[in-house]
Amino acid sequence: MSLAGLIEDGIARQKSAADPAHSVWVSASAGSGKTRVLVERSLRLMLAGTRPEKILCITYTKAAAAEMANRLNEMLGSWSVMAEAALAQSLNDLIGREPSPAELLRARRLFASVLDAPGGLKIQTIHAFCESVLGRFPLEARLSPNFEVMDERTAGEIMQTALADLLIASRQPKNADLSAALQLASEKVNEESFTDLMRSLSQKRGQLAALIQAYGDPGDVIAALAREIGIDPDESEEHLISQSSRETAFAGPALRRAVDHLLMGSVQDVRVAEKIAPWLLQPDKRLALFPDYLTAFFTQKGAISASSKLATKKVVEACPDILDILLAEAARLQKVQENIKKTRVLMTTAALIRLGAALVDRYEEERRGAASLIMTT
């Protein structure tokens, strides 16, 4: 398409987007005329007789809201004073037909009507709009009518207090859950990251509250989560390992036979055997040796090692079912590991949900207390 064609096409699309008869979704790059489309839609609505105060335009920034109001005023201002023919042309450009005498008259008066619209023409940021709704219905929103929106600094301070309260609360014997959760969190992250973590959690407090409300309390959420991933909520990593280390849990005799063969194999085979043997031979140390034991079967990245790494050709020749034995054990261990991972995920998630819920409670409490602090009459 030629440049002129492109421009023409763009204008045509703008025109159709500006038709208030259709609901449209406009996505376009900066400077391509999105505000213009909005302004034209509003103009056409008002030209068709919609009262200015019945229109709500929501923008994302205050700057965009002011910009739009100014453009609208400018356009309407020029309509109110331009010569008859020029006005007719301008309206024709907008609506794509000759304006009626009533439309011409309305266009003349729109400038002042918009300025005087009761409550003003509402071109607002989403925040300002929400604020106005809350200000209109403070009792329903359980707010003081002269509430003021908290600034980020105050919110940060309140967060800090809530966090300190949370830490203090976790010390009380009745809050053993919290204390355990905190213990877990403090192992994983340091103080600064913990604060960051809690802050990002508190930014999702609406979702968190909805989650908890949907299930009952944090314990219920965790139980549901455990069901979802198929893990007993009281399961622990140690328990999983010691359970899987019981003699009945694996094919002991076969493994021992495999080790004997490996020990007679190459250097590589011996190395594998040396990882398996200690675990196999010392049942009381299996918990501690478990990580080492795993390395016999898995690569550093956690995948099952290639058969050639498990046993060399020579050993396989000597003991034809050795790969089956080793791979079966590897598959078993993979499941154990999977469960361990699930347990870890569950534990950390549970800890964060407990901490998050407690934090949000405290935050809300502090915020309520501070509400009047940031109120002005």
Binding site: K62, A63, A66, E67, A69, N70, N73, G77, S78, S80, V81, E84, L105, R108, R109, F111, A112, S113, L115, D116, P118, G119, G120, S132, G135, R136, F137, P138, L139, E140, R142, S144, P145, N146, L163, A164, L167, I168, S170, R171, L182, Q183, S186, E187, N190, E191, F194, R368, G369, A370, A371, S372, L373, M375, T376, T377
Partner: protein, 992 residues
């Protein structure tokens, strides 16, 4: 006797192009000034007290300052007033008995607290402060309802059925007003001030109708926007000797448009049009009062503005508008400034320029109190003090702030920031001179308020002070403060106290704190603001019985809520020729130059705000004035001010970085002007802008360069510790600042214990443990180490972050350390922990002393060689840094051993230099030894030689102490970067 049938009531108008008060004063003098006696018999009903004062000064101007028996002036109130006037009667015959018969008006503050109590009694868990906020909104509604003479019983029928359930919530809440409140009032034996005003005004009307006074009565400047004042105006207009004088009635709008004005509450003339309708007269029935000596502009100006502000419904008529005559626009300027600050500076310059012209007066009118504050502070550049006669809210006034800070300090249990904010307030003197008091406060700050907070309460601070190095004098000084505050602190501990008792003690403390040496009275109550604060306190005391069970913790918020919105005004202006007014003051007054500042939507007109109780249609149905009525009033203010002789309209294009929308009236004016190819805006080349640009322009631009201090060699340090050497190498400027200038960074106020503290706790714990069990480990080693750790952490364990994060980490470190020790002790024995030592290094100027404390020196059991160890709780230097000499600490310690620096150790070969990294993470500890590429002995030797060269280099006078001379080798713990202004000269290459 009834009033005779007067066809045309006595209603006059002073057109906007004249100064209202001046024409009025001239007229009154002309009519009644023949004898002193006659004038003083005249009664003038003004809208507000401030209007009365404006009129008084107009009389003074007329008589050139000669004293005069002025007419009796009585304010009758106006909507939008923050104070309901009329405590007594209008005072013109017959009112007295009426006043005596009426119950007194209830104190506003008492009413607010009573309503708050009712809100709390509804069972929802609202704090007292929040309840007081709601109570203020309720009281506002009550005032409006009573001012309009409405009945709350009509509320339930306001909404159509589909919204009824929703409306029910509000309705139930408003039962506080309709049901509970009348009972309370009866108990109190009071009525609402708004109702009382209404009754008084109506009684006065009735009385005058029954007994028309012989002496002249004037009702001036009112638009009768309150029903009762409208009735009074009607009465006055009907009196044989009564006269109503309207402000700036329109003379230019066509008849059809005038019809529209009555229906258009946002129109500037709506109030007047409604009043004429009520008086049953037309514009033509109103006669103009004029006086050429008080003229400020031509009628064409008013005509042009009337055209621009015409009702929207007839705005198509602009098509037919004729261009304004040049005289209409003469003296009008519009200045568009980029932001609020430049607007304030431009206005200040215009005001300052006025002072260059003899006798000329100027006034800034703005509804934007932020702008007026900026302008008054800008004017102080030239020592010009101008009051903002729109006033300051009590909570923002100095005594208000002082009381709020005191409340906060008590509620926050003397937390360092709260305590210092209070004690550093200019009103704080504590019986000393302000200087002496401030000196003590600073000493207190340095002694204990920097760094981690002391315990709670002034007692906690006192305990911390007792163990500090502070002087006895300071301790005694602080004890006096503690004693003063003791009663309030004790009360504040309780969950609930009697409010009166609490308030009395609170005020006693506030007075004692603000009393300056040699004075009897507290500085707190001095001056305008002080009087207002005293009034507030006594009103609070009178209302105190309302709250028997008071939660002291809520005091700071409650105090804020109660103080906010109590406007305090200066009684007399400070400057004879310059003033700052709010729109109410600007309604009747006039100056040669009128600057209308903040011409943006949101200020001119102000935001209507949202009504928490009713929607717009509901208000209309109920009979309450629409929010647009306030816009109309504001438009009328604008109309009056716009017709002054010289008018400057200013606005800021951006406020707080956000683009603004120009005032609707400005847009109307400019749009109409555009039709004729005209506009008011002055370009950037206009003089005020040019001045404003130069106001803060620096004389010359002088970039700073990197500092190169070369203090005399005799002043340079001859002794440094091993840990300073790395700093000396990487950032000599730090050594200069720390060792020569003796500057140390201050801790933050109320800082949490820092990472450095954590390090020292852990060091101390390990040191004590190894010292206690040098040879054999105890069987319960871990337990023992934990006990030692608990002692080392000490009080810091009371900080949540410390025990929640550091302590668990320490426990993990402890477990790791015990295991480490068990292995280590099989091969090594520990010779020294925290071993202090020093050596002399020969240098050109004089011997240089290298001192140092080695965390730990071990000896290999079989080989006899030594091992130098250092615990690092942060990130230790890399092996590479150690081996290249960039982190010479361990190597220098080895060198000290070699040079007999540690008296307890015989020199022996050093075979190991190692860091023990202890961060409590995963893994909790890590042993890392240097000396892979080079032997420790060699490293020690190189470090020693390197240091010797460094000393020699700085023993030369010419060697400067540079700040981070090698940007590629930054120093991690640089406290002096800011002092060196590094950001100013090092920028450029790296950028931000």
């Amino acid at each position: 006797m009834t009033v005779g049938k007067i066809k045309i009531p006595n209603v006059f108008n002073i057109p906007a192009e004249y100064s209202f008060v001046d024409v009025l004063a001239k007229t009154l003098l002309k009519r009644h000034g023949a004898s002193m006696r006659e004038l003083s018999d005249v009664t003038v009903l003004t809208t507000t007290r401030r209007a009365a004062r404006t009129l008084q000064s107009a009389f003074l101007r007329e008589t050139m300052g000669q004293p005069l028996m002025l007419p009796r002036m009585r304010p009758i109130g106006d909507v939008e007033e923050d104070e309901l006037l009329l405590e007594g009667d209008i005072g013109v015959g017959g009112g007295a008995e009426m006043v005596l018969g009426l119950p007194p008006a209830i104190d506003p503050l008492r009413r607010q607290l009573l309503l708050a109590r009712l809100i709390q009694a509804r069972g929802t868990s609202v704090g007292i402060a929040e309840a007081a906020g709601l109570a203020a909104a309720l009281a506002h509604l009550l005032d409006q309802v009573e001012t309009e003479g409405l009945d709350l019983k009509n509320l339930p029928n306001l909404v159509p059925a589909e919204y009824a359930a929703h409306w029910q919530i509000t309705l139930e809440f408003l039962e506080i007003l309709s049901k509970a409140w009348p009972e309370i009032l009866a108990e109190e034996g009071c009525i609402d001030a708004a109702l009382r005003r209404d009754l008084l005004l109506r009684a006065q009307s009735q009385h005058w109708r029954d007994h028309p006074p012989a002496a002249p009565v004037y009702a001036v400047g009112s638009t009768g926007s309150i029903p009762a004042t409208a009735e009074l105006l009607k009465t006055v207009a009907g009196l044989p000797n009564g006269t109503v004088i309207l402000p700036g009635l329109d003379r230019h709008l066509d008849a059809a448009s005038w019809e529209e004005v009555v229906r258009d509450p946002s129109h500037a003339q709506h109030g007047l049009a409604k009043l004429l309708e009520y008086l049953k007269i037309t514009r033509e029935d109103v006669r103009d009062l004029e006086d050429e000596a008080a003229r400020s502009s031509v009628p064409a100006r008013a005509a042009f503005l009337a055209e621009a502000l015409r009702p929207a419904a007839t705005s198509d008529q602009w098509q037919k508008a004729a261009p304004p005559e040049p005289a209409a626009l003469a003296g009008l300027r519009r200045l568009d400034c980029p932001d609020a600050q430049s607007e304030a500076q431009t206005i200040a310059l215009l005001l300052r320029e006025t002072l260059e012209m003899p006798m000329k007066t100027a006034v800034l009118i703005t509804p934007d109190r932020d702008l007026s504050r900026r302008v008054s502070s800008e004017l102080r550049r030239w020592g010009v003090e101008v009051d903002d006669s729109a006033g300051t809210s009590l909570d923002q006034s100095p005594p208000g702030v002082f009381l709020r800070l005191l409340a906060r300090m008590i509620a926050e249990e003397a937390a360092p920031v709260a305590l210092l904010s209070l004690l550093k307030h200019p009103l704080a003197a504590g019986g000393e001179t302000a200087e002496a008091f401030r000196r003590h406060v600073r000493a207190l700050e340095l002694a204990i308020l920097r760094g981690p907070s002391p315990g709670p309460g002034l007692k906690g601070v006192e305990r911390a002070l007792a163990t500090s190095a502070a002087s006895t004098e300071l301790k005694d000084w602080f004890r006096r403060l503690v004693t003063l505050a003791e009663p309030v602190e004790a009360l504040a501990q309780a969950r609930e106290v009697d409010f009166a008792t609490f308030l009395k003690e609170f005020i006693r403390l506030a007075e004692a704190l603000s009393r300056a040496e040699g004075t009897e009275s507290a500085a707190l109550w001095a001056g305008n603001f002080g009087e207002a604060a005293a009034g507030f306190v006594s009103e609070s005391l009178r209302a105190a019985d309302v709250m028997t069970a008071f939660t002291p913790a809520a005091w700071p918020e409650l105090l804020d809520t109660l103080m906010t919105g109590r406007m305090v005004r200066a009684t007399y202006g400070q400057h004879p020729r310059l003033q700052i007014w709010g729109p109410i003051e600007g309604r009747l007054g006039r100056a040669d130059l009128m600057i209308l500042g903040g011409m943006n939507e949101g200020s001119w007109p102000p935001d209507a705000g949202s009504d928490p109780w009713m929607s717009r249609p509901m208000r209309e149905k109920f009979g309450l004035p629409l929010p647009e009525q306030r816009i109309g009033l504001s438009a009328h203010d604008f109309q009056q001010a716009f017709c002054a002789a010289e008018v400057v309209l200013t606005r800021a294009g951006k406020i707080d970085g956000t683009p603004t929308v120009p005032s609707r009236w400005l847009l109307r004016i400019e749009t109409l002007l555009k039709k004729f190819g005209l506009d008011l805006a002055e370009g950037k080349e206009s003089q005020p802008f040019a001045w404003q640009q130069q106001l803060d322009l620096p004389g010359a631009y002088r970039p700073v360069s990197a500092p190169r201090p070369t203090p005399p060699v005799s002043a340079r340090p001859r002794r440094l510790s091993v840990t300073r050497i790395e700093k000396w190498m990487k950032d000599p400027y730090s050594i200069f600042a720390e060792q020569i200038l003796k500057l140390r960074p201050l801790d933050d106020i109320a800082m949490d214990p820092s990472a450095a503290d954590k390090g020292s706790f852990i060091h101390e714990a390990l040191e004590r443990f190894v010292q206690t069990y040098p040879e054999t480990m105890p069987p319960d080693a871990l337990l023992k180490l934990r006990v030692v750790g608990r002692e080392a952490f000490g009080d810091a364990l009371s900080f949540p972050a410390v025990w929640a994060f550091w302590w668990p980490r320490f426990e993990r470190i402890a477990a790791w350390f015990i295991e480490f020790e068990q292995v280590r002790r099989k091969k090594f024995e520990t010779l020294l922990v925290e071993a202090k030592g020093e050596i002399k290094i020969p240098a050109p100027e004089a011997d240089f002393v290298l001192s140092g404390t080695a965390d730990r020196i071990d000896r290999h059991l079989s080989e006899g060689s030594l091992s130098v160890l250092d615990y690092k709780t942060g990130l230790p230097p890399s092996i590479l840094e150690v081996e290249t000499g960039m982190a010479p600490q361990l190597a220098l310690e080895a060198a000290m051993i070699k040079h007999h620096g540690f008296p307890a150790i015989d020199p022996a070969p050093v075979s190991e230099l190692a860091y023990i990294r202890l961060n409590g993470g995963d893994p909790p500890g890590l042993f890392r030894s240097a000396g892979k590429e080079k032997l420790p002995e060699q490293l020690a030797e190189e470090a020693y030689d390197g240091l010797q060269r460094l000393i020699a280099q700085f023993d030369r006078q010419a060697t400067p102490y540079l700040s981070c001379p090698r940007p590629d080798i930054p120093y991690r713990f640089n406290d002096y970067e800011h002092l060196a202004r590094a950001k100013e000269w090092s920028g450029g290459e790296e950028g931000e």
